[in-house]
C-alpha cells in the first residue's frame, strides 16, 4: 500500500508536523472546540481538554524573544560543520498567531545573522540539512 496520507488524517503530533515541514508548510493544530492554536500540534487540547483538532497553516512571521550563539553545540550540529570558531544561532520565535517555537536563526547564506537583537522581526525559511539520504527540512528563521 502506498496511498498518500490524506491531509485531514495526518496525525496531530510530530509526525504530522514534520511531514508538513518537509512540504515547506508551517502547520499547527487548532482546537475545534475552543479555538486554541496548538503548536506543536497535539491530539488533546490542554486548554479545554477537547480532542477535535484541525490543521491550520501559519504565516511564518514572528518576533525574536531570546537567542544564543552556540559555540559548544550538539553532535548533530557539529556534523553540519559548526564548532567553537563557527557557532550557530538558536532562538525562540514568537509567531504572529501567538505560539512560540524554538528554531535556528540564520542570516544570508546560512551564516549567523550580522545583526541580531531581541524583538527583531523574523520570517520562516525552510532549510535543507543533513547529508544524502538523511537530508531533511529544518524549521529555520531569518531576519
Amino acid at each position: 500500500m502506498n496511498t498518500p496520507v490524506a491531509e485531514d488524517i495526518r496525525p496531530f503530533n510530530h509526525t504530522g508536523f514534520y511531514q508538513y515541514l518537509a512540504e515547506r508548510r508551517l502547520m499547527a493544530a487548532r482546537c475545534a472546540t475552543c479555538g486554541e492554536i496548538n503548536l506543536p500540534p497535539r491530539a488533546l487540547c490542554p486548554r479545554c481538554f477537547g480532542t477535535n483538532m484541525e490543521w491550520i497553516e501559519l504565516s511564518g512571521e514572528g518576533q525574536l524573544e531570546g537567542f544564543t550563539l552556540i559555540h559548544v553545540g550538539l553532535p548533530a550540529m557539529a556534523a553540519e560543520g559548526y564548532n567553537r570558531q563557527n557557532p550557530y544561532c538558536s532562538g525562540v520565535v514568537r509567531l504572529a498567531e501567538g505560539p512560540a517555537v524554538a528554531a535556528q536563526i540564520v542570516g544570508e547564506d546560512g551564516a549567523i545573522p550580522t545583526t541580531i537583537e531581541v524583538g527583531m522581526p523574523l520570517r520562516v525559511v525552510f532549510f535543507e540539512i543533513g547529508k544524502a539520504e538523511n537530508r531533511s527540512i529544518a524549521l529555520v528563521f531569518k531576519p
Binding site: 544564543t68 552556540i70 559555540h71 553545540g73 567553537r84 525562540v92 512560540a100 524554538a102
Partner: protein
C-alpha cells in the same frame, strides 16, 4: 489555612555529601556510599542503618552516563540496606529536590518513620560533547533539540531576554561567578576551592611557566572579559557562567518529627515543601522568569507560613549565572529586574541581606545533577547548625530555603527549613 499541608511533621536529622569533582575510577555507587557515611557521621545521637525504612534517590541519567539502569536497589545494596524499598526519582537536575519531597511525603503520610534521601550523578565518564548530548535529553527532543539548543544555550537565551528587558550587561553576571567562587574557596567538599582571583593568578603563573607573555589582567572582571581565559560556550554565556561537569553524591536522613530529638540535638524541621511543573522552554509566555519556581515557592511559603523576607539564607539553582539572578527574583527576594543589581551590591554575599549559595553553589561546589538538590540541604544543615566554618553566615540562620530546578524549569522544587 494553607491549601497543602503535611499530614505530620518531618525533620532532617542528618546530612552529608561526598566531595564533588571529577573522580575517575569511582562509580556512582561509590560516591553514594561516601555521602551515606558522611550523613551517618552527622547524626548527633547515632544512626543504626537498620532503622531506615525506605530510600528515595534522585538521579538524572545513570543509564546514559554509566550505562546502568535500576540504580536505586544497587544503592540500597551498597549501603547495606537490603531489602528496604528503594525508589529512584528522575526530574532532570531537580531529581534530588523531588526525591527529598518524596521522602518528606512518605513520612508525612505515616507510611514510614525514617527515610534516607539521596542524590547521585557520575557524569565524567563521557566526553564533554557526549555530556552535552545527554543533558539535552532533558529538553523537548522533538521540538528543541532539532533547533540546536544546548542547556547553556537555553539559559543564554534567557540572558538575552533579561538583558534586553532590564538593560543589564554580561559584566553584571560576573558578580555571581566571583561571589560563588569566593564561597566555594571555603568549602572542603567543593569542586573548585579557588576564588576567581586565585584562578587568574594561577593562569598567569602557567603562562609564565610556558614562557608566554604575562597576560595583563588588571582584576577579576578583566580576566573574565578575556575570551582566551573565559571562552564563549553559548554566547552571551561563557565558561565561567556555567556550572561544571561533576561527579558526586549527597544524603539526608529524614525522620518523623516526634523522633527528631532521638537522633539529633539540633534537628531541622521541614516547614514548607513545594513543587511545580511547566512546559518546554519555547512554550512559556515569558522567558525571564520560571513559572514553576514561582509556583513551588508560593506553595512552600504558604505551607510554612513565612515570606521571602523571613529567609536568612538560601541555596538556589545556579546552573548558570543568569539562573541565580532569576531565582533571586522568582523566590521573591528581589523585585523582577532588580536581582542583577542586588547581586552587584553584595546583597547576596555572605554578609548581605539574603546570602545565596554560601556553599559555592552549583557553579563552584559542582553540579552532579541528580545530587544537587540534596547537596543544597547539606549546606543548609551546616549553616543552620553553625558548622560551616570559614563560610559561616555571621547572623543566626534559623530559617533557610532550597530551590532546585530541572531542565529550564519544567520542574522546580522549593523547601523551607526551620531550626527551633
Amino acid at each position: 489555612m494553607p491549601r497543602h499541608k503535611l499530614g505530620r511533621g518531618v525533620a532532617v536529622a542528618g546530612a552529608g555529601m561526598s566531595r564533588f569533582g571529577l573522580f575517575p575510577g569511582q562509580s556512582g555507587r561509590d560516591l553514594f556510599v561516601e555521602a551515606f557515611n558522611a550523613m551517618r557521621q552527622s547524626v548527633d545521637r547515632g544512626l543504626d542503618p537498620r532503622q531506615i525504612d525506605a530510600i528515595y534517590v534522585g538521579n538524572f541519567n545513570s543509564e546514559l552516563f554509566e550505562n546502568q539502569g535500576q540504580l536505586a536497589p544497587i544503592l540500597a545494596d551498597w549501603t547495606g540496606l537490603l531489602p528496604r524499598p528503594a525508589t529512584r526519582v528522575e526530574d532532570a537536575c531537580a531529581s534530588g529536590g523531588v526525591a527529598l519531597r518524596q521522602g518528606i511525603l512518605a513520612i508525612a503520610s505515616g507510611a514510614y518513620d525514617i527515610v534516607l534521601v539521596g542524590g547521585v550523578e557520575k557524569m565524567s565518564g563521557l566526553s564533554i560533547e557526549r555530556v552535552t548530548d545527554v543533558l539535552s535529553t532533558a529538553a523537548d527532543v522533538l521540538y528543541e533539540t532539532p533547533a540546536g539548543f544546548t542547556f547553556p544555550g537555553f539559559y543564554a537565551a534567557i540572558a538575552t531576554a533579561y538583558m534586553t528587558r532590564y538593560q543589564a550587561t554580561t559584566e553584571m553576571l560576573m558578580d555571581v561567578t566571583i561571589k560563588n567562587h569566593q564561597n566555594g574557596a571555603y568549602n572542603e567538599k567543593a569542586q573548585f576551592q579557588m576564588t576567581i582571583r586565585q584562578v587568574m593568578e594561577k593562569a598567569r603563573e602557567q603562562a609564565a611557566a610556558k614562557g608566554l607573555p604575562a597576560p595583563g589582567w588588571k582584576n577579576e572582571y578583566d580576566f573574565l572579559s578575556d575570551p582566551r581565559a573565559n571562552p564563549p560556550i553559548a554566547a552571551p554565556l561563557c565558561l565561567y557562567d556555567c556550572s561544571p561537569i561533576s561527579d558526586g553524591a549527597a544524603a539526608v536522613l529524614l525522620v518523623a518529627e516526634n523522633l527528631a530529638k532521638a537522633f539529633s540535638s539540633v534537628p531541622l524541621y521541614v516547614i514548607g515543601s513545594g513543587q511545580a511543573s511547566d512546559g518546554a522552554f519555547y512554550s512559556r509566555p515569558d522567558l525571564v522568569s520560571l513559572r514553576s519556581a514561582r509556583a513551588a515557592a508560593w506553595e512552600a511559603y504558604e505551607m510554612a507560613g513565612v515570606g521571602p523576607r523571613d529567609i536568612k539564607m538560601a541555596e538556589v539553582h545556579d546552573c548558570f549565572t543568569i539562573a541565580e539572578i532569576i531565582a533571586s527574583e522568582d523566590l521573591g527576594f528581589f523585585e523582577p529586574g532588580t536581582g542583577v543589581k542586588a547581586a552587584q551590591d553584595g546583597m547576596t554575599a555572605r554578609d548581605g541581606r539574603v546570602p545565596l549559595n554560601t556553599s559555592g553553589g552549583l557553579k563552584a561546589k559542582g553540579h552532579p545533577v541528580g545530587a544537587s538538590g540534596v547537596g543544597q540541604v547539606v549546606e543548609v544543615w551546616k549553616q543552620m547548625r553553625a558548622e560551616a566554618g570559614g563560610r559561616q553566615v555571621s547572623r543566626d540562620v534559623n530559617l533557610a530555603l532550597t530551590h532546585n530546578v530541572g531542565g529550564t524549569g519544567q520542574t522546580s522544587a522549593v523547601h523551607i527549613f526551620e531550626r527551633r
